[in-house]
């Protein structure tokens, strides 16, 4: 124990003496939380629309003003030429083109169905989906009014329809920041913890200091533990720091138990840091570590469900996520923070990560060779 204590002490001296390390640890949460939370949003604020109104009737104008009244749409242009409308999509000036045919009002008035055409720029599939959903919503709303107006006018009977009302649980205003922030927090602590730990051992290899350590009677588990704990402490502090920033800057809800969240974060970081250490016991220089870490981080982050729900991924991808520590924490941090889940709700994730942590840690200890 005394030996481990001394290694930890030594690591902290070195970390605090490093002139670049400390600023990174402190500045990174600010930049990541502030920039990423605002930037990485799926909310559509400005959908540029071009209308090809061949009808020029009262009804068509009503429909257009309906769009103008929506906070999401901006009427970018009005034209009679289809070619011109298409050009605007091609030159990225418009996200959506709405074509209203010249018999639009006539057909509606005579009780027939009229068709309009929507052309959506789908370079960004997610944005296109949202654009389509928003405009369908506007049109459906318009449809309902047309229907009731006309029917009342012709024959006053009661319409029967299902009235749907929504309630968005755990994030009533569908605030995207509240969804993103916990995810970014996960990435933040992982990068700080795992990268620092992984680069550390390999730096000892590059400097040759590991040679001097290897001839001492130090046990392998002592060395790896001594390397893991300092960065675990730093990552936990970073987590607390990031959470505080989130509360102060974005007022993220903290519904669940903080102790539970930190307990889970602790186990998660054991996995992340052990992975980092395992990689660094195998690599021989910092470049290799960077490449391998980058590969794993990128794959794991994109599969973790930070942007896209894991449930909509193909079956095999969900299976791959069994070995993706990000996926566990991503799910749990949102459950605990937003939903207030208790231990029984996250016990599967908790025990899975606990097993995972002991597995990877043992592997790292085993893989660390004092003898070539």
């Amino acid at each position: 124990m005394r030996t481990i204590g001394y290694i930890i002490q030594k690591e902290f001296i070195q970390i605090f003496r490093d002139k670049t390390m400390l600023p990174i640890i402190i500045i990174m949460p600010f930049v990541q939380l502030i920039v990423l939370v605002y930037a990485a949003t799926f909310e559509m604020k400005q959908i540029d629309m071009v209308v090809v109104d061949q009808d020029l009737s009262t009804t068509s104008r009503q429909l257009i003003s309906k769009f103008q009244g929506s906070p999401f749409f901006v009427l970018e242009g009005n034209t009679f030429s289809m070619d011109e409308a298409e050009d605007m999509i091609k030159s990225d000036k418009a996200d959506i083109v709405m074509v209203i045919p010249n018999d639009f009002q006539k057909k509606l008035m005579s009780g027939e169905t009229s068709a309009i055409q929507l052309i959506v720029n789908a370079i960004n599939a997610t944005a296109a989906g949202l654009t389509n959903a928003y405009s369908s919503y506007v049109i459906a709303d318009f449809n309902k009014n047309i229907l009731t107006e006309n029917i009342n006018f012709i024959q006053p009977i009661q319409t029967r329809s299902i009235d749907v009302s929504y309630s968005y649980w755990y994030n009533p205003e569908l605030n995207y920041k509240i969804y993103m922030l916990p995810g970014i927090l996960v990435i933040l602590v992982t990068i700080i913890g795992a990268f620092l730990a992984a680069l550390n051992i390999v730096r000892e290899k590059e400097m040759g200091t590991i040679e001097q350590i290897n001839v001492t009677p130090i046990q392998k588990y002592q060395f790896i533990t001594g390397k893991l704990l300092p960065f675990w402490i730093i990552a936990m502090a970073e987590f607390a720091f990031g959470l505080t920033l989130g509360k102060l800057l974005f007022d993220i809800p903290i519904v669940g138990n903080l102790g539970l969240l930190f307990g889970f974060a602790g186990v998660y970081l054991l996995v992340a840091l052990s992975l980092g250490l395992l990689i660094s016991t195998m690599a021989s220089n910092q470049q290799q570590v960077m490449f391998i870490m980058f590969f794993f981080l990128l794959t794991f982050i994109l599969m973790s469900g930070i942007f896209t729900p894991v449930e909509s991924m193909p079956d095999w991808a969900q299976k791959v996520n069994i070995i993706n520590p990000f996926a566990y924490f991503m799910r749990v941090i949102r459950m605990v923070l937003l939903k207030g889940s208790g231990f029984s709700d996250i016990s599967y994730e908790f025990y899975s990560l606990l097993i995972y942590a002991s597995l990877i840690f043992s592997l790292a200890v085993w893989r660390y060779r004092k003898t070539a």
Partner: protein
């Protein structure tokens, strides 16, 4: 069984096509300074890494103080002090922090073994709050030696400890080694400097993973069987090329401002002079010289080439 500190039997190690160690066997007596002399890539470092349990041999065995370096590696690490060829202490820790760190890892304290390192440490103590990375070469080496000694090892393994160190520090360093020897510490040291070899109790010449000879420095020089002359001439290059065409010369090597030429037995000063005059080299300075370790080493290397 004789009382050896280090016993090496038929040790071999290959790295791909390179034979780093080729059936090496030798013994080192207790509390002596044993020198390993050889050019770069001759296998010195590989041998030391095997002795300090950092590298596994392909075949053969080695014991230190009776402990097998492979099987009893845990004990080996307790009783060995190793100073790698490259400075391997923490650059960003201070002198004192480095020493305290290694003391703790070995389960001891600076205080406990202060006596052993006192003579060395006292010289760097004024700089104890300076980071190791900011020390001069000589001070770095003293710190490394202190760290290697802090757990009172029985065997000290020093891999080219004086490379890149100034002449004064080198001299001081060897004096320290002599003192340590008196404290019953066996020292095995490698060096590329031939002059340091004469300071060892025994010297092993190693080349291409093979031990060429093991002798006391005096015996190595006595074993030199050729008459040796030191020759100087203003045009050194011409002198050297001319001497190398001399059928009676065994070898000719440049040593600073003169050339050492080893001759076949029974050839003497006269023959050399007349040969050189025939070749148009007049008034050369020529005198017999006692062979130094380097002459012997060159000679041994020539033998293995043939």
């Amino acid at each position: 069984m004789p009382d050896f500190s280090i016993d090496i039997q038929n040790l071999s190690k290959t790295f791909g096509p390179v034979k780093a160690l080729d059936d090496v066997s030798f013994q080192v007596e207790k509390s002596e300074i044993f020198g390993l002399i050889g050019p770069d890539g001759s296998g010195k470092t590989s041998l030391f890494r095997i002795l300090t349990s950092l590298l596994l041999p392909d075949s053969g065995m080695a014991t230190m103080e009776g402990y097998d370096v492979v099987k009893s590696y845990k004990i080996i690490r307790q009783i060995t002090g190793y100073m790698p060829g490259r400075f391997s202490l923490y650059y960003d820790l201070t002198v004192e922090e480095n020493l305290a760190f290694f003391a703790t890892i070995f389960g001891t304290t600076i205080k406990e073994n202060y006596d052993l390192i006192k003579d060395i440490y006292i010289q760097i103590e004024p700089f104890k709050n300076r980071r190791a990375g900011n020390l001069s070469g000589g001070m770095k080496q003293k710190l490394a030696l202190s760290c290697a000694l802090i757990h009172k090892p029985k065997v000290l393994v020093l891999d080219e400890p004086t490379t890149g160190v100034d002449a004064v520090s080198r001299k001081e360093f060897w004096e320290m080694l002599k003192k340590l020897k008196q404290q019953d510490i066996t020292i095995i040291v490698s060096t590329p400097y031939m002059d340091e070899a004469s300071l060892c109790d025994h010297v092993a010449l190693i080349q291409k993973g093979k031990i060429l000879s093991i002798e006391t420095p005096a015996n190595i020089r006595n074993a030199f069987s050729h008459p040796l002359y030191k020759i100087a001439y203003p045009d050194m290059y011409r002198l050297l090329t001319t001497l190398r065409t001399f059928s009676e010369a065994v070898s000719a090597h440049r040593f600073g401002d003169s050339i050492h030429v080893a001759l076949k037995t029974r050839t003497g000063e006269k023959e050399v002079r007349s040969f050189l005059e025939e070749q148009g080299l007049k008034d050369v300075a020529l005198e017999p010289v006692r062979p130094n370790i380097e002459d012997c080493f060159m000679d041994l290397m020539n033998d293995t080439h043939d």
